[in-house]
Amino acid sequence: MRVLVVEDEERLAQNVAAILRNNILCAVDIAPDGEEGLFLAGGNPYDLLVLDLMLPKLNGLEVLTRLRGEGRSTPVLVLTACDEKEVVIKLLNAGADDYLTKPFDLGEFVARCKALLRRGKGEHSPVIQTGPLDVNTVTRNVQVNSRQIVLTAMEYRVLEYLAMRRGALVSKEELLEHLYDYNWEKFGNVIEVYISGLRRKIESVAGEKLIQTVRGLGYTLRRESEAVASTDGIQGVSQ
């Protein structure tokens, strides 16, 4: 998962980024003002936007309105110092998915971010099931046939993303874009390493192939018995 934080207060932006990295295991980009926020959000496939309301150059509401005007459906969590009803109504009507007033509680912030990330991928349950594989996105517990699988942080992030897009074809670029911040192009071949690690840990316990490789295109998380749907999966990406 990759999140954009648009916040002009540098210390707060750093803290929010640290919270997101540590608690949600996602890549974080920071934009210090509205203009840059809009530019970054328009050019990168973020899974979540954490948006401050009072921003220099372009205020948060304007960023939100323009983003939605461009047809971007990225979930947006607005951080605001103001909890007046009119402001909240205006925010939600402008296309915000949720809001949180400063100073916020770390636990609540993390929970709301996770909920928005899930919903953004069409998931409602925090536990994503694929055959014998259960991925709990809240506790970051991964079980196969009710047996605990120990994953590295990066392996978990790859698996979580595949699980949230399960059944769909996910290209290597998409994975890179969603797992790393704006430097993602530097990370080249690491994805193959994580995928092989995941396969080794999961498929040995599951006794079946769960991460399918579509040569030259990418990966899909699904049971082999659902292979018939693979072409649908490919179409799903282009949709």
Partner: protein, 481 residues
């Protein structure tokens, strides 16, 4: 306080004055006609008295004495109350009077009065007395000197009084009849004339903190007397709305800054306690929190300074201030910033043309120069020069702070004195500014009756000038010293 209705008062005043007018009219008209009625009555009395005298004649046969032609006495005007007369010769040999009249009642007539009012058999009478009336008739052998007559003629005044009463009644009734429609007309026109005032009051009553829009009704705008009120209301409201909006913005901005600072502190703290950390991470977190606290503290100080400066403008001068030396306040501000300037290898050049005194708190003056110099140092490149000059000219004392920094874009230049305004956010954040320094400076300068202006050429530098009016008393005092 008891309220009253303008409309009722006006209506009452108009009705009362109309009533008074009607009563006055009745009284004057009655008195006037009574006067002329009396005169006509007296003239007719005189005529009748003379006609009585004309009825006295000498006998044709030359016998002594006088005769009276009673058959030719004119009948009285008033039925039932016949006129009374008495005619007496001064020779004492002739006396005639109305039948049944006791002539003694005329004996009490004062000897020199011509008219006399009296009551007889329940009636008011007015009598005329003609004395020494010559007998018109002439005959041979009339006694010499010829006898003279005294004629008293009286007529009832009941008819006259009755006519006067009727007249008063007619005038009264007519006045009342006219009064009713004029009253209705007056009330209607008062209502109509007061309608714009009523509408204006309603429009003004609709103004609230949520709804500042004041739209004077067309009728009120077209009323000459209401123009000053509408003008004053509009001006006051516009000022109030602006002040209110500014205040709300300030509170909003202040809340944003405070909550953001608090959010930093809280998130750092929660990150530290969310899971066990290495000692070095705790140390790093605590250091960060300590910095956050300092930041919060300086924000609070800045906000309090702003509020205090603005409060003082609102309250005005409260006591006589001692004159202080402007140049020395500049010097102490420079001294306080020496470390900060030398960190960036910036030199502050101070030049002053003459000693200048102004009445102010020295701490306020210092704060003004501190804020301006701090800004200049922040935006100046390493190793550059910031100039502070103090000059007195044409009744003004002007202090200028000029730097060779990055300058300010014209779009920002007009807004830099607004609270929480940061022309360049990323820079200001790094240098720890809140966008309050220049706002405080402006408030303080305004408080001391001065003016502040900023000129800037992007990429060349900024020049901020503060001018105070030179106090004449102080400059003459200086001259004596």
């Amino acid at each position: 306080m008891k309220t009253f209705s303008l409309e009722n008062r006006l209506t009452f005043a108009v009705v009362a004055s109309q009533l008074l007018l009607a009563v006055g009219l009745v009284v004057i008209a009655t008195a006037f006609s009574r006067h002329y009625g009396r005169r006509a009555f007296d003239v007719s009395l005189e005529g009748r008295a003379e006609s009585i005298a004309a009825l006295v004649y000498y006998p044709d046969d030359g016998s002594p004495g006088l005769l009276f032609n009673a058959a030719k006495v004119l009948p009285g005007d008033h039925r039932g109350h016949g006129d009374l007369f008495s005619v007496v010769s001064d020779h004492g040999d002739f006396e005639r009077h109305t039948a049944g009249l006791d002539p003694k009642i005329f004996a009490s007539i004062p000897p020199d009065s011509r008219f006399w009012n009296f009551h007889w058999s329940g009636q008011s009478y007015r009598a005329i007395v003609l004395r020494d009336v010559a007998i018109l008739d002439t005959e041979e052998g009339i006694p010499q000197p010829p006898p003279k007559l005294t004629v008293v003629y009286a007529a009832s005044t009941g008819g006259l009084d009755h006519a006067m009463r009727d007249l008063a009644a007619i005038i009264g009734v007519v006045s009342l009849a006219v009064l009713i429609p004029t009253m209705v007309l007056a009330i209607w026109s008062i209502r109509k004339a007061l309608m714009p005032l009523r509408d204006l009051a309603l429009a003004a009553g609709a103004i609230s903190v949520e709804h500042w829009k004041f739209e004077p009704p067309a009728a009120a705008r077209g009323t000459e007397e209401l123009q000053p009120l509408i003008g004053a209301l509009s001006t006051v409201l516009a000022g109030l709305e602006a002040a209110f909006t500014r205040q709300r913005e300030f509170v909003g901005d202040a809340a944003h800054e405070l909550k953001t600072s608090l959010a930093i502190l809280k998130s750092t703290l929660q990150m530290l306690i969310s899971k066990p950390q290495e000692p070095v991470d705790y140390a790093r977190g605590l250091t960060a929190m300590s910095q956050d606290c300092e930041r919060l503290e300086s924000l609070l100080n800045r906000m309090l300074q702003t509020a205090r400066a603005e409060q003082r403008i609102a309250v005005g001068h409260q006591r006589q201030l001692e004159p202080v030396d402007l140049a020395s306040s500049c010097e102490s501000a420079i001294a306080k910033l020496a470390q900060c300037a030398s960190d960036k290898e910036i030199r502050i050049d101070f030049s002053t043309s003459e000693e200048a005194m102004i009445r102010a708190e020295i701490a306020d003056l210092e704060l003004i120069w501190l804020n301006l110099l701090e800004n200049s140092i922040q935006y100046s490149p390493h190793g550059s020069v910031v100039e502070l000059t103090c000059r007195a000219d044409s009744g003004l004392i002007t202090v200028t702070v000029a730097d060779h920094g990055c300058g300010i874009e014209p779009a920002h230049l007009t807004r830099i004195f607004e609270r929480f305004y940061r022309a360049d956010s990323s820079r200001a954040r790094v240098t720890g500014g809140f966008g309050l320094g220049l706002a405080i400076t402006k408030s303080l300068v305004t408080f001391y009756g001065g003016q502040i202006r900023a000129d800037s050429v992007p990429r060349q530098g900024t020049r901020v000038s503060v001018s105070f009016p030179l106090d004449r008393d102080l400059s003459s005092l200086e001259g004596q010293q």
